[in-house]
Symmetry: C2
Subunit: 440 residues, 2 copies
């Protein structure tokens, strides 16, 4: 089985394939043993994999796809045009076809969509030596992905226990597997979100999570490599959404120009339309600006400070909610924390702002009328705006979660827009309060 | 060994411990068998773990810590006050102490800092049956974390091959382990960054990554659970840094008030000081604003649009670089992509802006002099500012990487600040160009 020396990992062969001219990839795969070619196919990037399969004959593609692990087979077919996928599906053996169709029916972001249907389970009454012999037999005859963990089941097929291959090896001879297996098994329903699967894997240090139906019967297993892929995808999506766009859901280098515009323009336009309120707000204070143009000069400085403190608070709360450190009901605890934080941060920026105006005035660079009053206005407005920014930024993820959205859809530009509009009003009302009778 | 029925996972016992009054946690742990208590200790959050160990007698703490896996032992001691850590270290057996001191010497964010020193390796000449017997013996006598993978070594102790426990089980009897093992082994040096370890784990679907010294001699193994923890930590740090602050490096709920201010205020102040340039820039155009106050009303709208498109571009490039989809040398490819994207996105927003002004004017809500020229100014400025935002936002991560910083330290507020200052100048120069002779 492993006679060739210097065997490369399929991932390295995939890297080689990716440097070949496009039209050479299919012949390259054909030159490999089919099992090996299927392995390599799994490691190709989605775009190339799709292209290669669509240039092959349906029969050849079906042969390759049949050899893939069930979860990767489903993922691969999901990436193809529906008609090609159906053609290929119709050519693969009935058993694999049924299995694949079942997996394709699950949401790709759910436990069902991540799981593989090949795993090892034994009845809980099986003697240890018999289980071990069975595992060796399976290990020799099939290539199962999820073999580091063995599940024990009752007569109805419900999961009753779990043990690692190592624990089975270490088990005293003469006993039953139920003596060895851990009886508290962490399972997820087929419909569980992949974030839930990731959370269990992380918290319990698992290498595989069993996926069960409503009756507790095991349907498949999510292996840790798929959990890692899901985590990395979530990470990318979170950063992109926090950056103020829809998640691309494919590599930047592979997405088409118009698709990318489609992910960016709607959010940009929505933010633009909301931000138009700043023009309305400023129009409301046009008389004041005409009387004291100096007020306009500080607008970007003040509103951006509110947006920045809001962006900080939002990033903190998004991750804290995602990691389960805080729950929805903790919103008031967070508010009670962000209020003094905002006041403190606002005071720091306010002092910097006051110092800037007074020093500039002293050096003769700035030349504002009533410099002390202007400085006081800027300082007080910063305290107000930064405090509002911290509060609004920290509450936004809670509000989104409460409304049934993912808290991670709160983005830095979204928070900045929210704070810009309110920040302007805070600023001009503070100015009216302090400068009325002198400049206004 | 596993006689108790209904055994709970250590993580669940840790959850129980975390709901107890603080002073009850140490007695609760004392009531458990020491091996089990050590397991539970590993799953407590860092703050509670530190507190519990510091309230115990040094001898009791040392006994518990000795039972932990080497990597968790090092992590735990790293969390303690240096003096307590040294007291405890001096009480643990010499072998474990030496091992722990070695691990403590590595950077916690490096492969050396993540690895455990307990793993299974056999000489490459070992017969399969003998290796299997050895693995069974080890599995029965010790609790090794990294037992799903077995490494083969040459006479000098250098890693020569790798096989999974399953592959060893499946191996034909009568052969040597070198016939079974894969000869292409992915290893990392002890100094490798944890992101490199994560990348290998993800790309090759590994459950353990061997860590080697300069001579290729295996020093330890990073297990996949630690890779997942590292990925999740990186995720949190990335989001927080993208939000415009220093990474907290501990849960939001656990960090002290002043420590949190210390993570937020410096960035906020630095952004504030840079953003002061907007006041200077606007001061430069004070004469124009006095002549046409209407120009000031659109300032927040225009500069925020540039910041938003920049934030989108930055989030895309940060992740694309982190995933290795693009390299530093691809900067010009990205620039060639972001230039038309920015023009297109700017044109969309520009048209929205023009429509807004003209419709408002038509409805009699807005009442600007020279509405068509103002609309043209806003539209043209938006194209310029959004294009500049996309370009600047996409180039920033490359520039940071080129300068030796982590590209992920580019934050949304940082990009917004950069674009605000330039965006203002673009806006006012466009205004001068279009409105000179009429309003200006």
């Amino acid at each position: 089985m492993r006679c060739e020396t210097e065997e490369l990992h399929a991932k390295d062969l995939a890297d080689v394939a990716q440097t070949l001219p496009r039209e050479m990839v299919a012949p390259f795969l054909s030159a490999l043993p089919v099992e090996r070619a299927a392995d390599v196919l799994e490691y190709l990037n989605e775009e190339l994999r799709t292209e290669v399969l669509e240039t092959m004959s349906v029969r050849q593609a079906a042969e390759l796809v049949t050899e893939m692990t069930p979860d990767d087979r489903a993922d691969t077919l999901e990436g193809l045009e529906e008609s090609s996928a159906e053609e290929i599906l119709s050519e693969i053996p009935a058993e694999e076809r049924a299995e694949t169709e079942k997996l394709l029916a699950y949401d790709p972001a759910s436990a069902g969509g991540l799981m593989t249907t090949e795993f090892v389970s034994v009845s809980q009454d099986t003697p240890v030596e018999e289980a071990l012999a069975a595992v060796r037999r399976i290990a020799r005859s099939e290539r199962l992905e999820a073999m580091n963990t063995i599940y024990t089941t009752d007569a109805a097929g419900r999961v009753r226990g779990v043990m690692s291959l190592r624990e089975l090896l270490a088990a005293p001879e003469g006993g039953k597997v139920s003596d060895v297996a851990w009886q508290e098994v962490q399972t997820v329903p087929v419909t569980a979100d992949r974030e839930e699967v990731a959370r269990l894997t992380r918290e319990y240090d698992l290498v595989a999570v069993p996926v069960v139906d409503d009756n507790g019967v095991i349907q498949g297993v999510v292996t840790v490599d798929d959990v890692i892929d899901a985590l990395v995808e979530e990470h990318t999506e979170d950063v992109q959404r926090f950056g103020g766009m829809e998640a691309l859901e494919m590599p930047y280098t592979q997405i088409g120009f118009l698709s990318m515009i489609g992910k960016r323009a709607p959010w940009l336009a929505a933010l633009f339309l909301s931000e138009m309120l700043t023009t309305t707000a400023m129009g409301h204070f046009q008389g004041e600006i005409e009387k004291a143009v100096v007020l306009a000069l500080f607008v970007p400085l003040i509103i951006s400070s509110g947006g920045n403190s809001g962006s900080q608070a939002t990033s903190l709360i998004i991750r804290s909610l995602a990691l389960g450190e805080i729950k929805l009901r903790d919103w008031w605890r967070v508010a009670l924390r962000e209020l003094p934080s905002g006041l403190m941060l606002g005071a720091i920026l306010g002092l910097l702002g006051i110092a800037r105006i007074l020093v500039w005035q002293h050096l003769g660079i700035g030349n504002y009328p009533h410099p002390n009053l202007v400085a006081l206005t800027i300082g007080a407005a910063l305290v107000g705006v930064v405090t509002f920014g911290s509060l609004a930024g920290s509450m936004l993820p809670f509000i989104l979660q409460k409304l049934g959205f993912d808290p991670a859809s709160a983005s830095a530009p979204f928070v900045a827009t929210l704070v810009d509009v309110t920040g302007l009003s805070i600023y001009f009302y503070v100015a009216l309060l302090i400068l009325r009778g002198t400049m206004l």
